[in-house]
Amino acid sequence: MNDNPCPDVQLELYRRQVEVRVFEKRAYDLFLRNLVKGTSHLSLGQEAIAAGFGTAMRRDDYTFATYRGHAHTLVRGAPMAAVMAELLGRDSGLMGGKGGSMHLTSVEHGVMGSYAIVGAHLPIAVGAAWSAQYRGSGQAAVCFFGDGATNIGAFHEALNLAAVWRLPVVFVCENNLYMEYTPIASVTAVPRPAADRAAGYGLDPLVVDGNDVEAVYGVARAALERARTGGGPSLVEALTYRHGGHSRADPGKYRPAREVEEWLARDPVSGYRERLLRRGIPAKILDDIDTEVRAAVDAATDAAEAAPPPAPERLLSQVWTDGGSSWRN
């Protein structure tokens, strides 16, 4: 028996990783050109996790992401031009420029938000899963967060409640070894910040190579299946590494050169490309994907750069559902 995903899925896993890779590199270029004004946190090196889950998720499943959420937003199909425009603070941005890089949200595509307070979205994802269970919709919520987030109180509260109510939620810890600049090992009581806590919520420890997109895809499918069939939550720890610094301001110099090298050698995108070539997939097919993706990112960039800044009226809009922000009668 062949354990590999079927060929279409393989190409999809490849394409999504490439999309994230090319998009994030472009975002970095635009930051260097001072077009991305606020902060931004890239997923370069961590593409396989978003791609693996994004491919495994159902169209109506919910994604909850962090400030490092470009990847998780794109893999659900959110329009690249609108995401890019949001980074640039343009009117055509996904949230009209109000949220910026750290708060990407596309409800239409199941992306229920990117949250910039570490840990906050875990309980919120629990709520979406509770609602899915209540409505009997068969939806699952997938909540991505970092290793650093496992030490904040909200993590604990969310995991416990999800387990007690057996909710359809998958918690995905992207362990990239660092919180901002501090090694996670230096501030955590256990070696595996997520997996070593699973038993405290009656869950199995699940560790996956986060740079192997098929491995992630497999774990994602199993966890989503469990969620949909009443098996309750899962806590997945995906081991990975970011290629760059924590955010745009950070050159990442605190990391040992050797560690960086080792992880660069395990690049999820080029590694998967090689694996597919070894499996006999023609280079042309992959090259075509690369070309298409680059064209899409170019188009998104052009559209975003050409877009005007947000209309000033936006400033006082959408505090309330009536569209406005008035607090007085």
């Binding site: 109000k98 708060h103 629990v126 509260e157 505090v319 309330w320 008035s326």
Partner: protein
């Protein structure tokens, strides 16, 4: 028309909305099997079942996070935070997540949810179980804040809050739970953002909310006996704020007094004093005076707590002295 305690009104208000709308669910600590530590939710588990009335662990962040996630995906949760002081342990959920998400997503996410909580002093519970957090809440953009002072108002405003498409914090003055009031039969539905003028007089305007409303009214009655006429306004809702009624009342008297249970600094009283000092300045005939709890945590001993919170006699003394 029935006489109900405030406590019973809470139950009736929740039940009214849960009967009407299957999407309304109730979550909180000890709210289901035990009927609430203030006995505001007895019988709801029995009527609506464990799917809709849920006991939560002591995890306030998870309670409000769950309410938020459920609200953005089709439910209309009512979350109880047992004492308003405990909003501090989940303040991120209130101030950074629930209040800001609609704006940050440019309207993509709606959060029709209600947070109910027992607020204020009077029960000798000390500094961590007696706070009046309306001054925290009003400072947060994106949060509606109501403070019903009677059983009927509680039902009507709670219903309005549940049906409102935005997040609403309902502060229930815990000192009022045992107090009875007239409640009309049938469904009650009120409007957020409407103050109520409880009596009129020409000499001074007293503005109050929650447990301070009956005190302001009694003070006004006493002063009326001495020939001093007071207009008393119950704001009922701090956000949205009924500025028109406020300005009208001040226009009629030229003098504004607030009666605030919260510690002094940066309260709702400071806000309305500032609004009046900006927008009704020509109408003012004298200083604006805030009658508040001093800027201290509430003490536990009964005599001290009574000294701290604005009393009827402190109100009358302050107003009469200021009017000269």
């Amino acid at each position: 028309m029935a006489q109900l305690t405030y406590r019973d009104a809470v139950r009736r208000g929740i039940a009214q909305e849960m009967r009407r709308d299957e999407r309304v669910v109730l979550i909180g600590e000890d709210v289901a099997a035990a009927g609430g530590v203030f006995k505001t939710t007895p019988g709801l588990l029995e009527e609506f079942g464990p799917r809709r009335v849920l006991d939560a662990p002591i995890s306030e962040q998870a309670i409000l996070g769950a309410a938020m996630g459920a609200a953005m995906t089709g439910l209309r949760p009512i979350a109880e935070i047992m004492f308003s002081d405990f909003l501090a342990v989940c303040w991120d959920m209130v101030a950074n997540e629930i209040a800001k998400t609609r704006y940050m997503t440019d309207g993509q996410v709606s959060l029709p949810l209600v947070i109910r909580t027992a607020n204020g002093g009077g029960l000798r519970f000390g500094g961590q179980h007696s706070q009046s957090v309306e001054n925290w809440a009003m400072a947060v953009p994106g949060l509606k804040v109501v403070l019903p002072a009677t059983p009927a108002d509680l039902i009507g405003l709670l219903a309005a809050a549940v049906r409102d498409p935005d997040p609403v914090l309902v502060l229930e003055p815990k000192a009022l739970y045992p107090v009875r009031g007239e409640v009309p039969d049938g469904e009650l539905l009120d409007t957020l953002g409407r103050a109520r003028v409880l009596r009129t007089g020409g000499d001074a305007t007293l503005v109050a909310v929650g447990a301070m409303v009956p005190r302001a009214v009694t003070a006004a009655e006493r002063m009326a006996e001495q020939g001093v006429g007071c207009t008393v306004v119950d704001l009922r809702s701090l956000v949205p704020l009924d500025v028109r009624t406020l300005l009208d009342a001040v226009a009629g008297t030229g003098r504004l007094f607030t009666v605030e249970e919260n510690p002094r600094l940066c309260g709702w009283g400071a806000e309305i004093a500032s609004i009046v000092a900006e927008e009704a300045f020509p109408a003012l005939r004298g200083p604006i005076v805030r009658i508040t709890t001093p800027h201290i945590p509430l003490p536990s001993a009964d005599t001290l707590e009574d000294l701290a919170r604005p009393s009827v006699s402190r109100i009358t003394d302050t107003v009469l002295k200021a009017l000269g």
